[in-house]
Symmetry: C2
């Protein structure tokens, strides 16, 4: 599909892209660049690409498609660095978890004639780095584009085809709507998970070893999100502040009301809420966005005969 694809950043997302690009034959040449020599070395040992450099400018030279996969707070610096070496007609995209901030940071550096199309594949795990990636990561997951008013439709179509061949379904929306939507489906859940794990960690009357021993009764479900990369999540919080604060306010308001129902023993109110929320899981499973086995399939992994 492309002569040369440059991947700037080769962590979970970048390395998953490298693997699926190779498997699907989407580029003749994969150029990899990352900040630290150790990470680059690891990518090379894993044979993720065809050329390797810590100099992003070298990697993007002559590339038809450049995918920036670094923490959102670093997007501006990366754009500034690569801008002079971008080829006319190339497509420049990113995978950052926030979009208004990335657009604000990167747009000013994009040269005339380069198609900048902000993107965000909604796919990931709690792990990071080049070892964490795998080619199926994007399978049946959504990739959201937030095209700018002057985005070339042909370039958008080409990039969409690329992501479809990586396994994704495509959606487009405004950066504002993206940031609001992601605040509820992704950012708030991570923040809440980090928070509850922090609360448990601080207790004195229940020890940490008790929390760990008894975690299978619910707590462990939160620890997966709370084990995600701290740099990535710090940046998300700093770069989608308004939407996150809005969702946090709603969440806290609802929690106060729930707390009040518990305090006053309002069983009917509790029962209603606990019934209403059940339906959503069913819909998520029907939409193919989670698996239809109890415990997220942990039982199947531990006892494969149950599959």
């Amino acid at each position: 599909m492309f002569e040369k694809i440059a991947l700037i950043g080769i962590g979970l997302i970048g390395s998953s892209l490298a693997r699926v690009i190779r498997r699907e034959g989407l580029a003749r040449h994969i150029a990899i660049s990352t900040r630290r020599p150790e990470t680059l070395k690891r990518a090379e040992n894993l044979q993720l690409g065809d050329s390797y450099s810590t100099d992003a400018r070298t990697a993007v030279r002559d590339a038809d498609l450049i995918i920036v996969s670094v923490p959102v707070g670093a997007s501006g610096t990366v754009a500034e660095e690569i801008a002079p070496a971008l080829k006319k007609g190339a497509i420049l995209t990113d995978v950052g978890s926030t979009k208004q901030s990335v657009v604000a940071q990167m747009s000013p550096f994009v040269p005339e004639g380069v198609h900048f199309i902000p993107g965000h594949p909604l796919a990931g795990t709690e792990n990071s780095g080049p070892d964490a990636g795998f080619p199926d990561l994007f399978d049946n997951r959504w990739c959201i584009f937030t095209p700018l008013p002057d985005t070339d439709p042909l370039a958008l179509e080409k990039l969409s085809t690329f992501w479809r061949r990586c396994g994704s379904n495509i959606d487009t929306m405004t950066p504002e709507h993206h940031d609001m939507t992601l605040a509820i489906v992704s950012h708030l859940p991570h923040i809440i998970a980090y928070n509850i794990v922090g609360t448990a960690d601080d207790l004195a009357n229940v020890t940490k070893s008790e929390v760990i021993k008894y975690s299978a009764s619910g707590f462990r479900d939160f620890t997966r999100l709370a084990a995600s990369d701290p740099t990535m999540w710090r940046d998300v919080c700093l770069h989608n502040k308004d939407a996150i604060l809005e969702m946090l306010a709603r969440f806290s308001e609802d929690l106060s009301s729930l707390q009040r129902a518990i305090r006053w023993g309002d069983g009917d109110k509790l029962f209603d809420l606990f019934t209403r929320t059940r339906a959503i899981r069913r819909s998520i499973i029907q939409a193919g966005q989670d698996i239809d086995v109890p415990d997220f399939g942990r039982q199947v992994v531990e006892h494969p005969e149950k599959k």
Copy 2:
């Protein structure tokens, strides 16, 4: 191990017990009783026991071990009903998720000579009813006893052996400590999960279908707990009120502080919290209380070749 075991309540927990008792040969006779004829019929079709009755008194007659597995709010009524038919020397236990309230409800009805030992297996899934059970449910999970001051050590030892043969590890503690511990490892996680799913469900600027489509980016992890049985969780909230309110207060306090860090762009504080919480997941995996594969193993279930 026992001549006759009576199971009062045959949902997820009761039916898992029936299955493991049969598999391990822990009783010569399994008597099953449940409130509704439909549930009893289903248990009979699944061949979970040797005798079936909607009359709990009939089921417990001559039983050496009686296990009550009903929502905690119903424990008192069940105890009152079965009390006159309990055999001298029998062990009476329960599996309820709260302990102080169950002790308060059941103790007054326990006849002289019957050994009442409150218990709680920390094992479950989001599903309920007799079809949801499976014999491995208790494998490598903890079962907590909260013995009363006058509990007979021999009866406690016998019940412990029974649960060990069901796959569990045994711990004992006071009902007060149980309720405080479970408030953080189980009750708060469920309440938070119900709450966030409720918040998402109420939004107007992000539609429900968007929440469902994009849920793989974090939200779906909460929907499993929020799909748990509403009756069970209403009862838990009503019967462990003080400890839950205490944990909710701490959680909210921590969340306000996190919210403030986001509002004021305090990246270092965010980074510190997000780093600290990572360690807990590692410990949980080391303790054998969760599996060591990304995404709770969903990838392995979807792509079994990765195992």
